[in-house]
């Protein structure tokens, strides 16, 4: 299973990277979101996918899945949500003010 997961993570990274390399600001945002997903899956995979119980002690099991990566991913989800929202509004404002979302047109001027 880990092999499949690793490949899936690789695909998510590849698509995310490809989108980030494009000219459109929106696609770049989509790319960062996909990268985030890839990272979360990677975190989960790295902790081992051995099946165990849900990490709730009330279940009275002997074997639980590792709770630590889940906590890390939870933190990461919230942070990336905050960052993505901010980035998104930034893109929206940039488009409003500058009238374009083409990164080639948003290049710095030569004298700067």
């Amino acid at each position: 299973m880990e092999i499949l997961m690793s490949i899936a993570v690789g695909v998510l990274f590849a698509v995310g990277t490809y989108l980030i390399l494009t000219r459109s600001l929106i696609r770049i945002i989509l790319g960062t979101t996909l990268l985030t997903h890839g990272v979360h899956l990677l975190l989960l995979t790295m902790a081992g996918l051995k099946t165990g119980g849900v990490p709730l002690l009330g279940e009275q099991l002997t074997n639980y899945t590792d709770p630590l990566p889940q906590a890390l991913i939870l933190t990461s989800i919230v942070i990336s949500f905050g960052v993505t929202s901010f980035f998104f509004v930034l893109a929206y404002r940039a488009y409003q003010e500058l009238g374009t979302d083409d990164m080639e047109q948003l290049r710095g001027r030569d004298d700067e």
Partner: protein, 811 residues
């Protein structure tokens, strides 16, 4: 702290006070307050003559950075004393001269004296320091103060150009020297020159010996304007004349000679040292004297003459180092005379060159020009200056009875001895020494004659001068008169110097040749019989006079050498090339396109990781610990990958957002399958909010256009993104394959309830075990929301203007 330390520090203290004098006592020329400093120091150093003569050099240490073996140790021996006397003595004369040269109402003299005293202190520091790092510090300070003094009239382009050039070249040499010092430290374990000299026997043959020597010599050559680093000196002539006289003839340019003499006990006796020092010196001597004739500006001629004379002293130091090769005995003693000549000429050159610069300054001051084409016939108008110029130039040309004659004779003796050497492959090349030296002396004779006779004799051209020339004020004449008197006194009675100054200096340059209580024999006499040297001198006079008289007919030879070949042109175009080159390189990769930068980042990431992964053999897959594959998970995964891969291909905003939402919700189901309920919950909520936000904003955003990048870019992007994906996959697989230790999950499973009183382990970790993460994550969300709020709410009245100017005052 000893008096010697104070001798170095006093100039710095007075330097800080100079602007105060200027401000609060404006009626008196600030120079008068500065003058006592060098005078006092000169007297102080004179009083040290007897202690140094008996061999008991003054030595004192103040700890500075003890952990790095750096102490402010000062040592006064024969060599230091000569330099200290030159620095303070000529310093006093130059200050006196400058009082009359610089107008206190028209010039910023407080800055002038500040810089000058800074230089004086730094120069004293260079010659008195025993610790190489301290020496280097003072060394750079002389470069800095020289830079400031050259650009004293900073509104002139040429001053700034000259200052920058001298700064670049001397600091380049300074850095090389620092590297050499460090190499010396690596070999000997000490920064103290005395201790290094004590270990000198063990140095030759070490790997770092030659690099250290070359680096230190680069430092000495750049400072002393040796070929090919001499080009800064003529441009430094934009400085006020007292500065040229002091720094660029008598003191600073001799710092390199000081360094060479100081390190002769360390490196002398090695063939490389001998060849480098004497050959570069000889080349400089020849080049400087031949180039001097090309120029018509008196200061430029004097600059090239300084270069050439410095080369002469450098040659002598190089030849004298052969004495260390031969050691004690008759064979070595022949070369000791080269060191005698070097030290003697060092003093002589300081006297006559200082005087000549001052005379040129007077001429400039009284006529308004320094160009010999406009000058002439000043002899009757300025008789005192003429006399001084006559004595100075005759001494420089080596005409008896002045001191230049004596040192030139000794120079010829030294090169004649050198041509008979039988080591360092001198058999083949040795004959070049006297020949080249002789040719250079002929040219020295010619330009000396040009300086004095083109200026003071010939036709007086009052219509070409801005001012009506007349003799300078007495105050201005005092300093050059004193120097010129010294020229005559040293010429007629050279032996007042021999055991007071020259012998102790030789003892510190060649310490290993003396047994305790022994001393060198120094004999300098005007008449030494019909020796070959005398015939060489006579030849110089005859040929020099003939060439001078026929100057007009052959001077045009210089025009044959195009400007393109000159070293100045090389320097200028090199600098320009460097500037353009770096600008060009920066322009090629700093394109301003964010895509380009991402290409660098991702490309570098993929390449470096893949390379190290395979180079270090870290890639491995061990299948034994993998979880089994379930159909349900595979299907979810396949759906997610399909949705993700489709995103780049769609050209509709809505489809893209739905596909992204699909990926997010599939992640949610994945979390459910992988037994992470909290994650599933959060992911679902976040995904919903994000999609909502996206939909809200997308309404206002432009339609997704089809990517219109060139196919070349698309292919590059594809390669890089696939590279990144493959890298991540391989990394994940290898990392999974090697589990080094058990996870700490057991702790949380065991202690969640006991320590934190909670059953939900993930929540307990978030809020209890690792609460800081959560706290800061809340901060992140808060900051993000504040940022979004201010982005939406705060608007500037109008967009920033595209062309220049800041809008700050509008806000």
């Amino acid at each position: 702290m000893s008096l010697l330390h104070f001798a170095i520090l006093i100039p710095f203290v007075v330097a800080a006070a100079a602007p105060l004098f200027y401000k609060y006592i404006p009626k008196v020329h600030t120079g008068w307050f500065v003058l006592p400093v060098p005078l006092y120091l000169f007297v102080y150093f004179l009083m040290q003559l007897s202690t140094v003569r008996t061999g008991d050099g003054v030595q004192a240490t103040v700890p500075w950075i003890p952990s790095l073996d750096i102490a402010f140790t000062v040592v006064l021996d024969g060599l230091s004393l000569i330099f200290a006397l030159l620095i303070t003595g000529i310093g006093a004369l130059v200050v006196l001269y400058s009082i009359y040269y610089l107008d206190k109402d028209k010039e910023a003299i407080h800055r002038f004296y500040l810089y000058l005293l800074l230089f004086m202190g730094a120069m004293l520091g260079v010659v008195l320091s025993d610790n190489l790092v301290v020496l280097y510090g003072f060394w750079e300070l002389t470069s800095l103060s020289s830079f400031l003094l050259i650009a004293f009239w900073y509104r002139r382009t040429k001053s700034r150009y000259g200052a920058q050039k001298s700064m670049l070249i001397t600091v380049f040499g300074g850095f090389a020297m620092l590297a050499g010092i460090i190499l010396l430290y690596l070999m000997t374990g000490t920064f103290s020159i005395r201790e290094i000299i004590a270990q000198a026997g063990a140095l030759p043959g070490q790997d770092l010996f030659l690099p250290a020597m070359i680096l230190l010599l680069i430092g000495a050559f750049t400072k002393s304007a040796q070929f090919p680093f001499h080009i800064w000196l003529p441009d430094a002539m934009e400085a006020p004349t007292p500065v040229s006289s002091y720094l660029h003839s008598a003191t600073m340019v001799k710092a390199g000679l000081y360094l060479v003499a100081r390190l002769t006990p360390v490196f002398g006796g090695a063939a490389e040292w001998f060849w480098l020092v004497s050959a570069v010196g000889l080349l400089t001597l020849l080049w400087g004297s031949v180039s001097a004739i090309r120029h018509t500006d008196l200061k430029a001629i004097l600059a090239f003459s300084t270069i050439s004379q410095l080369g002469l002293i450098m040659t002598l130091l190089g030849l004298g180092s052969a004495a260390l090769y031969y050691g004690i005995g008759d064979a070595g003693n022949v070369y000791v005379i080269a060191i005698t000549a070097a030290v003697f000429h060092l003093i002589n050159h300081a006297t006559f060159k200082g005087a000549l610069f001052m005379v040129v300054g007077i001429v400039d001051h009284e006529t308004g020009t320094r160009d010999i084409r406009y000058l002439g016939g000043l002899m009757t108008l300025m008789p005192v200056s003429f006399t001084m110029a006559l004595i100075g130039t005759f001494s420089m040309a080596g005409i008896p009875p002045f001191n230049g004659f004596l040192s030139k004779e000794m120079f010829f003796t030294a090169v004649l001895h050198a041509s008979q050497m039988d080591f360092f492959s001198m058999q083949t090349w040795g004959i070049l020494f006297p020949v080249l030296a002789w040719i250079a002396s002929v040219f020295t004779f010619i330009y000396s004659m040009i300086i004095v006779f083109k200026t003071f004799t010939g036709k007086f051209q009052p219509d070409k001068l801005d001012k009506t020339p007349h003799e300078a004020p007495v105050g201005m004449l005092i300093s050059p008169v004193i120097l010129v008197s010294l020229v005559v006194v040293f010429g007629l009675f050279p032996n007042i110097l021999s055991y007071t100054l020259i012998e102790p200096a030789m003892a510190s340059i060649l310490p290993s040749l003396l047994s305790p209580g022994d001393y060198f024999e120094v004999k300098i006499s005007m008449w030494h019989g019909w020796q070959p040297e005398l015939f060489m001198t006579l030849g110089i006079f005859i040929l020099g006079t003939l060439l001078y008289l026929s100057l007009r007919s052959w001077r045009s030879v210089y025009q044959l050498i195009p400007e393109k070949w000159s070293l100045n042109h090389l320097y200028d175009s090199g600098l320009k090339l460097l500037e353009r080159g770096s600008l060009g390189i920066t322009r090629t990769y700093m394109t301003g396109s964010i895509r380009q930068y991402f290409v660098y980042i991702f490309g570098f990431f993929a390449i470096i990781l893949l390379y190290s992964l395979f180079k270090l053999g870290a890639f491995q897959i061990t299948a034994d610990s993998y979880a089994e594959i379930s159909v349900y998970e595979v299907l979810l995964l396949a759906a997610m990958i399909f949705a993700a891969v489709a995103i780049p291909f769609v050209n509709s905003r809505l489809t893209a957002i739905i596909l992204l939402g699909a990926v997010g919700y599939l992640m949610t189901t994945f979390f459910v399958v992988l037994r992470a309920p909290d994650l599933a919950l959060t992911q679902m909520i976040v995904e919903t909010v994000s999609v909502t936000l996206f939909l809200l904003c997308f309404y206002h955003l432009p339609k997704l256009k089809k990517e219109i990048s060139a196919p070349k870019f698309k292919i590059t992007n594809l390669i890089i993104s696939i590279g990144v994906g493959v890298t991540v996959t391989l990394l994940a697989l290898s990392a999974n394959g090697s589990r080094l230790f058990d996870p700490i999950a057991d702790f949380f499973i065991k202690e969640s309830y006991n320590l934190a009183g909670g059953n939900n382990m993930v929540n307990v970790i978030l809020a209890d075990f690792r609460g800081f993460d959560t706290w800061l994550e809340v901060m992140v969300l808060g900051v993000a929301s504040l940022g979004i709020y201010s982005l939406i709410k705060l608007r500037m009245a109008e967009p920033l203007p595209l062309e220049g100017g800041s809008k700050r005052e509008d806000q």
